[in-house]
Symmetry: C2
Subunit: 198 residues, 2 copies
């Protein structure tokens, strides 16, 4: 699509197909990262999993780094959207919903990318920037859902600490199913957080 293409053309059947292909690639990339890790996740492996030719995959994502950072960003945005659409809930319910963000395939995929980035110079700046952006957005959503007033001293750090705890609980769930212990910890810390949220 050239720069002179009228905007309306972006909604034709060809563009719809292109968008669907892109989406299939992004979803396959996240699943691949979560299951086999960064070392085994190549553009070819993802293309095959998505049922897309390698050429088509490279048309959408010229490099491996492009594909996987876009994939984690895409799924993070989907999850943020789901969070934003939650109906009003009690604070313990909100805390449980936030923790759930960190225990599924998105967290597993992001963790693989994160850890790979710590050793790969090509990946590091992109993932650092992505994580900062996703982190700020998650914090904003958490503040709104918890009805937290960050002008009160300690409230901001309480919300940040809740998200740090959620991340730590996510890590504890990577090798074993930690759901039973996690429920008890979340119940207790949701109660303690009340003291910090006012």
């Amino acid at each position: 699509m050239g720069v002179l293409t009228p905007p309306g053309a972006a909604h034709g059947p060809k563009q719809d197909r292109s968008r669907a292909t892109r989406q299939r690639l992004l979803e396959a990339a996240v699943a691949c990262l979560a299951e086999v890790g960064w070392a085994g996740s190549t553009v070819s492996v993802v293309a095959e999993r998505a049922g897309v030719s390698r050429g088509a995959a490279q048309h959408h994502f010229p490099t491996r780094e492009d594909l996987f950072t876009a994939a984690v960003e895409y799924v993070a945005e989907e999850r943020s959207q789901a969070l934003r659409e939650l109906p009003p809930q009690s604070r313990p319910e909100v805390v449980a919903a936030l923790v759930d963000l960190y225990t599924g395939p998105l967290f597993r995929a992001a963790l693989q990318l994160w850890v790979a980035a710590s050793n790969e110079e090509q990946l590091r700046p992109r993932v650092t920037e992505l994580e900062a952006r996703v982190g700020r957005e998650t914090h904003r959503i958490a503040v709104r859902l918890l009805e937290a007033d960050e002008s009160v001293p300690g409230v901001r750090e309480t919300v940040q600490g809740l998200l740090d705890t959620a991340r730590g609980l996510g890590l504890a769930n990577v090798l074993t199913d930690d759901a039973a212990r996690r429920r008890r910890v979340v119940a207790q810390w949701a109660a303690l957080a009340e003291h910090g949220l006012g």
Copy 2:
């Protein structure tokens, strides 16, 4: 050393040399894992870094899995020992010391092993078992340092949640230096934990 060697012989100069070699290999393995990750960490790379022949390294650790799980366990045991020897401190100081456990090279190395284990069947059962053991020991030390009475409802979950938060803070520190934000979160959460520790 044969099974008939008298116990006293285990302290001869040859055994001292062997023990020193083993220790150099373990320290090199942790540094290697933290810096280049699991994919780049082989027995040969570690042997070279430690200044030990590949044959000698394989005498001590027949497989890659043996070397790296032993290395993470060795450093974890060193850190536990340092924690156990801490003089009596205020609870906020103890919380800060616990969080420090999760922000150095040991955590980086353990994280690499942990994430690799989630995709590698050969590694998974060993790392799962190792993490459970290290986790229980860290919990026991935390209970003692915090003078926490786990017979009181909620106290156990408060201590567990503190360690989950520490793990999440460690993860947040992998790509960027998060020390300034972390100090504020730790101060706030140490204060909230007081409500749960009684």
